[in-house]
Symmetry: C2
Subunit: 647 residues, 2 copies
């Protein structure tokens, strides 16, 4: 009921906002989000007209009552400060987990389990609270026994609707930044002094051999590198292993025309944002170069050309034994923690069709496709109709290939510029920066909106997008392309969160499909492969020199199966998805992404990744969880969910 | 007279400030500088008590009168808005030069020469003006016909005391940053599309061969790289040539223990500041790595392992012919402009003593000294007593060498931490950042204080430093070390500006001298070298296995002599120095650093460099002068000074 109300309100507010067609990726009506950042400080004086307390006073009063009940260990009283529909999202600070609880009962349960060890205190408003759309909102800070925290609060009719609490740093283990930074030059005289380079080289020679890393990260893409940088600053000895030789190769080796589909303001790495002339959509090789230098200047222990062969956990020693082959040489690593940062677009999903083994032409998964240059004048069939397929089909067309896309089921398509403007610009854009929202703030605003609420506020956004590009969609459908907007009309980001697939951010290939330049067979599947052709379920047959299976990727616990064991992979279960009960995201409802950035059912095994924004933001919380364990800080995990699905 | 008054006032104010022993590198009493950044906006209402106009109103009124006289082309009227003692420092916007004029007459002359072509307008106060120490100060902006500008104004008794005008960008040729940034991904479909990497590789293959660069920079250290980055963003085709192989090698190849002596907040490169955990004093190899990645991610056309053999200017074609050898292969480049960014610590100054040719041990200039490791137990004599000497002596002592420093004349010594705290922290520190002064602002505050005024405000700072480290200096002098504080007590930065030498920023070696661990022969010079020893002017003799000549570097026009011709070097004259009439800085007074970052007497020949702050800030103005010429914008240079000294 509440959701429909919210959606209705959202629709109403966003219709008003339609003249300024910008909203957040969360779909939050412009006014709400912009309000958080943009509102000028409301003067503290009470106006004569209405004796309304200032929003900041309202929040302070709520925080005082919250603090009082927490100090009294009165979970029920604290929960009663929340509305009937309410959400508390905690990133590590209370739960040592990535966890959302819903409603008073779950909130009380969280508090009963955590209050005693967490000992929260010192709740403060940061800056001024703001008011609008029926909500009072504020940024807040707090402390726990072991840590400092920052968060966000939304009150509706005096009760909490959403509360976000995040851990920012561990007391006594703060990152050496700003005033805490290292001096560098060792002033004074020391006999037999070693300089920085010598110490670095010694570390590189020692770590993994004479000294074991505390953490080992499998995968040296942006996820592994960003997490590595966080851990380095926290003083956690870490090795990142990567199959490719150089950092950035996982981008370099992709198909020629690839650029990021997320705009630059969304994509910054931790600690080192791109300079302000960086292109909006980074070409793959430019990102490759950036990642290569990042690994270097952030002093990461990066083992390229290193393949992870096998890992097993020793329950007694509480450590992993990991066999790797580094530049052809076998090495055994014994980290305390193993992080799989192998990427979502990593474990290829290859279909199996009768006749594949007799096909005389070339066949490859999209991840093996290096580009169109060899296929001018050739017949190419691309199975699949989502992101990779479109990019590859577009490039093949440009290179003069005769290309057909085969679409079995519908795809959600949105134009890149439209998504950037309507979907992201309130939080990640030059305009956002002008409004005082840098990517740090944007990440937190985004994190403050529970996944449960997200679809309802996305829907009006996508209705805007549908209207804006009405003509485009008509032409696409006229060409036979099967479109969808997500099961519930909530669009791209929800599809991404629920299933990590099923969409295309259009950077030009859809025009080719609409114009018939990229041919399309839709509503069919592959029946069998013959020596020189593909036969479809409608009995039609097409000749092919190359078949590209743009058939996606599977759950990251496939890597756990491959590297560790099927048993561990099954114990951990499916990685990603919310449990929404929509296509490819079976319930029950998790409330958070399965197994991401938090403890899993396999002790000391973690998964890191996501898009550049998620990798950046959630590396903060994963690094704190690992650092805490290294320092022997107690980390009682609240609210782990069982593995309901194997993959 | 005025200077003594200012100095007296400065002394008075800084005695007050002595309790908070912090001042700027300019020596501006804390109150003044902090005031610029820190003062809260004074409410606009007039107080009942005094009918004093608000400082912002005062500035606005002054700007209105200034604008009026400028629009009326009334140079005298405009000059009369300045005090009898007054300074106008212009960085390019009016003069297409780096130029300071002093007093009403010179100011009127500047205006008469420039008003008609510059057409200044739209003078605005930026933010609120502030008041204190007898001054009203404000940040200002303005426009000219071709450009936009930013600056600073100090009024004393209603008249201008200092005015700074700087060019920020050329209209129509703004850098592609923020909202103007490149899209990156080329959306839409293009037959035979080339991706970013292909276009970059094509550019690298073409530039210098099929296509000539507009600018060629000799020297790929931080100066050349930073200027290169500015030019890249401005779309000026540029090649940077460097003798060493990799960017950063000029740092890597220095002696082992070298770190930067300027703290990190002072050292940022343009567009890409160091992350906030970067050590305060960067070890040489860390800087080397940073510069290497900088060259890469800023897409600079960097030719390493390239030696510049000869350059000559073709007056008719208005271009240079430069012979280089690139990786052993001769290449001829024909840039329109040649920039020497070879570094101040670059053209070694080797002395010539009788007997050098018969010495049986090792001899080297400090720039050739790679480190102390080979000299444990050996006898080393280091000639010279400034920065390089101290660093080298300290490292040799730590490695177990028997080292003697030979000091011929006095050295100015200041402890690194003391200099950082008292000299720099108000502008370049965490504290400054907290006060809202980032390095961009700090650069401009620094630039706003004329060199003429600088010594008088530095003196009290150094008196503070002398007092703070009184004991240290006593011990040093007791050991026989000859100390100075600059000719007029104005300390390190003035010595640096006047002569680029004669000081040591102590990071530990002075303790070794004070303790006698590094032996000292002071007040002598070298008389002759024998087979195994050095004979001094006091007839004493010391055995030596290694002699290091830490005898400094000479004027950068030595590079012009070497690469181009003695004639051109003489035409250009001495590079660096202010013409203060102090030791090694003969008059007449220039008011600016000779030949740096501005047109020289040799057409299309420029010098770039300075410390990391100067390289960063002045690369902005040099890049704009080059861009303007490339775009065919008229650049009438006002106020070039003749070359009074050859070197």
């Amino acid at each position: 009921m509440a959701l429909r109300k919210m959606a209705a309100k959202a629709v109403k507010t966003s219709k008003k906002a339609a003249r300024k067609p910008t909203s957040t990726a969360t779909g939050k009506p412009v006014r709400k989000v912009v309000a958080v950042a943009k509102r000028k400080a409301v003067p503290k004086k009470r106006t004569k007209a209405a004796a309304q307390p200032h929003p900041t006073q309202i929040v302070k009063s709520w925080l005082r009552r919250f603090d009082k009940s927490l100090k009294a260990c009165d979970a029920e009283a604290a929960a009663n400060l929340f509305g009937a529909e309410s959400y508390w999202r905690d990133l590590v600070s209370f739960t040592w987990n990535i966890k959302t609880v819903e409603g008073r009962e779950q909130i009380a349960d969280l508090l009963k389990a955590t209050l005693e060890s967490v000992k929260p205190s010192n709740w403060q408003v940061q800056g001024e609270a703001s008011k609008g759309g029926g909500l009072v909102e504020a940024w807040i800070s707090f402390e726990t026994e072991m840590a400092r925290g920052y968060g966000h609060l939304r009150l509706k009719d005096g009760k909490a609707w959403t509360l976000l609490t995040t851990m920012t740093e561990l007391k006594g283990h703060e990152e050496p930044s700003g005033t805490r930074r290292n001096m560098g030059a060792d002033h004074g005289a020391h006999a037999n002094r070693k300089n920085w380079l010598e110490r670095r080289k010694e570390e590189e020679a020692r770590l993994g051999y004479d000294e074991q890393p505390y953490v080992m990260i499998v995968g040296g893409g942006q996820g592994g590198l960003g997490l590595g940088a966080r851990l380095r600053r926290l003083g956690v000895p870490t090795i990142i292993v990567e199959m490719n030789e150089r950092p950035g190769d996982s981008w370099r080796k992709r198909y020629k025309s690839l650029s990021l589909h997320d705009p630059v303001w969304y994509d910054h790495m931790p600690y080192l944002p791109f300079p302000d002339h960086w292109p909006v959509f980074s070409p793959k090789d430019k990102i490759g170069d950036w990642l290569e230098m990042y690994a270097k200047v952030m002093e990461l222990n990066y083992w390229g050309s290193t393949e992870c062969k096998h890992a097993s956990y020793d329950e007694d020693k509480k450590e992993w034994t990991v066999e790797v082959v580094r530049n052809g040489e076998p090495v055994t690593l014994r980290p305390k923690h193993l992080v799989l940062a192998t990427g979502q677009a990593s474990f290829a999903n290859m279909p199996s069709y009768p006749g594949m083994e007799i096909f005389k032409g070339e066949q490859q998964h999209s991840s093996q496709h290096t580009g169109p240059d060899a296929y001018a004048g050739k017949k190419v069939i691309v199975i699949g109709s989502n992101n990779s397929s479109h990019d590859i089909c577009g490039a093949l067309y440009e290179a003069g290939a005769d290309v057909t896309m085969v679409q079995r089921s519908s795809t959600h398509v949105v134009k890149s510029n439209t998504l950037m403007d309507i979907g992201l610009s309130a939080l990640y854009s030059e305009k956002a920066i002008k409004n005082g929202i840098d990517h740090h703030k944007a990440d937190l605003i985004f994190a403050s909106l529970p996944y449960k609420v997200l679809p309802a506020v996305q829907v009006p956004l996508y209705e805007q997008m549908k209207k804006k590009d009405e003509d485009f969609y008509k032409r696409l459908e006229k060409a036979g392309f099967m479109l969808d907007w997500g099961d519930d009309g909530s669009g791209l980001f929800m599809k991404y969160l629920r299933r990590g697939s099923g969409y295309y951010i259009d950077v030009g290939a859809s025009e080719l499909v609409a114009d018939g330049k990229v041919k399309l067979k839709s509503g069919v599947s592959v029946k069998e492969i013959k020596e020189h052709s593909v036969v479809f379920s409608d009995r039609s047959e097409l000749a092919a020199d190359l078949i590209v299976y743009a058939t996606g990727y599977s759950s990251m616990n496939g890597w756990a199966a491959k590297l560790i064991s099927q048993e561990v992979a099954d114990k951990v279960g499916k990685v990603w998805g919310l449990g929404s009960g929509t296509t490819k995201d079976p319930g029950p409802w998790e409330g958070e992404l399965r197994n991401m950035w938090k403890p899993t059912q396999q002790e000391a095994l973690w998964f890191h990744g996501g898009n550049l924004h998620q990798s950046r933001h959630y590396s903060q919380f994963l690094s704190l969880q690992l650092k805490a364990r290294m320092e022997g800080i107690k980390t009682p995990v609240y609210g782990m969910t069982p593995a309901y699905h194997l993959s």
